[in-house]
């Protein structure tokens, strides 16, 4: 169990993380979502002991995390930039991880290098942006740390590499269950991986709940334009798309079963809402803070 209590991270007068309290059970894949500058990386830096909290605490299994050897050893935090010297070859970077990481799996690291077509003889400085990200993924997954934190590690990776990453992440999580915190802006791409979702906005936690429950906060209504317009009248509409005479509208809030039955009788179909649409809705304006809570 990871417990954040009144966690605050300040940079001078700027408050990046503002009095955040969270309880995160172990063995879950968390999606950490937030707009640029919302405090995601600062929160994760404090969680990984890369930065001492300005106030509050991070406890892992009851122990204070900062400068705690056992907690540090059980945590890996991969950022959008690889924490390796540019002059080092990939082989050297992996060697250091193998020397210091108790759970390091060299065979799995070699397999991931093959998957992402990384030459271990290459220097970090010679890698493209996407290849550096792929190296970060190798370091993050092969460490097999009980707490694995991945902060926008996909930057620069092409669609094929990202798909391979998501597939490996899921497969390795199933084979070696652990706590994974995944921070991303590509919400729709990875939404299916999330078991729980944390949305942070302006340094504060806007929402923390099961991904399925979050999806239940809205409904996508599809059908003839007139029928859809009539159904959504008076409801909070997050977005609409029309094609010919058919319209799909995303409605925020639960829809009573009676309303669904009446809509279906009018030729409407109902489906789950996308996390990205909900995220955009919840973070696009501060007026929605109260709605989220």
């Amino acid at each position: 169990m990871i417990e954040l209590r009144g966690l605050t991270v300040r940079y001078g007068d700027t408050v990046a993380v503002d009095d955040v309290s969270l309880e995160l059970p172990s063995g879950v894949v968390y999606g950490l979502l937030g707009r640029n500058g919302s405090g995601k990386t600062s929160l994760l830096s404090a969680l990984a002991s890369y930065r001492k909290p300005s106030a509050g605490s991070v406890r892992v299994d009851g122990a204070e995390a900062f400068e705690n050897p056992a907690v540090m050893r059980a945590t890996t935090f991969i950022r959008d930039t690889v924490d390796a010297s540019d002059q080092d070859r990939i082989r050297r970077v992996l060697c250091l991880a193998a020397w210091l990481r108790p759970g390091w799996d060299s065979d799995y690291a070699a397999k991931l290098l093959d998957l992402f077509q990384l030459d271990p003889r290459k220097r970090v400085s010679a890698l493209s942006r996407g290849q550096k990200s792929a190296l970060g993924v190798v370091l993050g997954l092969a460490a097999r740390a009980p707490l694995t934190i991945l902060d926008e590690v996909y930057l620069g990776m092409d669609a094929v590499a990202r798909t391979a990453f998501y597939r490996e992440l899921l497969a390795d999580y199933l084979a070696h269950p652990r706590t994974i915190v995944l921070s991303t802006h590509l919400i729709e791409e990875v939404a299916d991986l999330f078991e729980r979702v944390i949305i942070i906005d302006r340094g504060r936690v806007l929402l923390h709940e099961e991904a399925d429950a979050l999806r239940g906060r809205g409904v996508t209504v599809t059908g003839p334009v007139a029928a859809v317009d009539e159904f959504v009248a008076g409801r909070t509409v997050l977005g609409e798309r029309s094609l010919g005479g058919v319209r799909a509208a995303t409605v925020y809030g639960s829809v009573p079963p009676a309303d669904v039955a009446r809509g279906e009788a009018a030729g409407l179909t109902f489906g789950p809402v996308g996390l990205q649409e909900l995220f955009v809705h919840l973070t696009s304006s501060s007026q929605h803070l109260e709605v989220a809570r």
Partner: protein
């Protein structure tokens, strides 16, 4: 693997290469100079001694500026890294300090056997070797601490704080180098009595160690650009 063992494995090829260059430079220099005139100063003590100091200064800068981040991001605490780096760098300094009298002994013996030793050459004796070790080791430690401090203040603080702090960071280097240096013939200089020089150098270096730990004990591990 411990931090000091990992650092030793990282730096072993660099250390061996550096030592090889030093030995080669010594051989070439002594061969050339002694072929022209009898040698009246110890090349090993004078030139090599300086090279070792500046090499360790650079190593200390890299330890804080690069290795600290690499180790913390691989699950090592700052305290573990500081202790391991201190063990590694002090051990390396002791090894290099021991090489000073050893190299001087070989140089002195070779010049004596080949009759290329000038009358004012600082001939090696056990007492001379002991004094050289006793001077070079605290000197190297001062350079190490200053190197670490240079990197730490620049890494931790914004430029308008970090750059002015480079001046006090240089104090261990300046004190140990000034009080425990060698003159242009490779003979120990004595601006003050050795015991006093040693005590002052050790105290200043210890203060530098404390300042270094204070600076990095909770330093944020910032990400690289790009």
């Amino acid at each position: 693997m411990s931090v000091s063992a990992a650092l030793y494995r990282i730096y072993r090829p660099v250390l061996l290469g550096f030592a090889g260059v030093l030995v080669l430079a010594e051989i070439v220099f002594v061969a050339v100079v002694s072929a022209i005139v009898p040698v009246k100063f110890s090349m090993w003590v004078l030139v090599i001694g300086s090279a070792v100091r500046y090499w360790l200064l650079v190593v200390a800068i890299i330890l804080v500026a690069t290795n600290l981040r690499q180790f913390v991001t691989n699950g090592i605490t700052r305290r573990e890294f500081a202790l391991g780096a201190a063990l590694f760098s002090a051990g390396t300094a002791a090894l290099l300090a021991a090489l000073m009298p050893a190299g001087h002994a070989v140089e002195s013996a070779v010049l004596s056997l080949t009759h290329r030793q000038a009358a004012d050459y600082p001939s090696f004796t056990a007492l001379v070797g002991l004094e050289e070790f006793g001077r070079i080791l605290p000197g190297l430690l001062g350079y190490l601490v200053s190197g670490g401090l240079f990197a730490a203040v620049v890494y931790r603080y914004p430029p308008w704080i970090g750059v002015p702090l480079l001046i006090p960071a240089a104090v261990p280097l300046a004190v140990s180098g000034g009080l425990l240096g060698f003159d242009e013939y490779g003979i120990p200089s004595h601006p003050v009595a050795y015991p006093l020089a040693l005590v002052v150098s050790v105290v200043v270096t210890a203060a530098g160690v404390a300042a270094l730990w204070w600076t990095i004990r909770d330093v944020p591990i910032r990400r690289l650009a790009g």
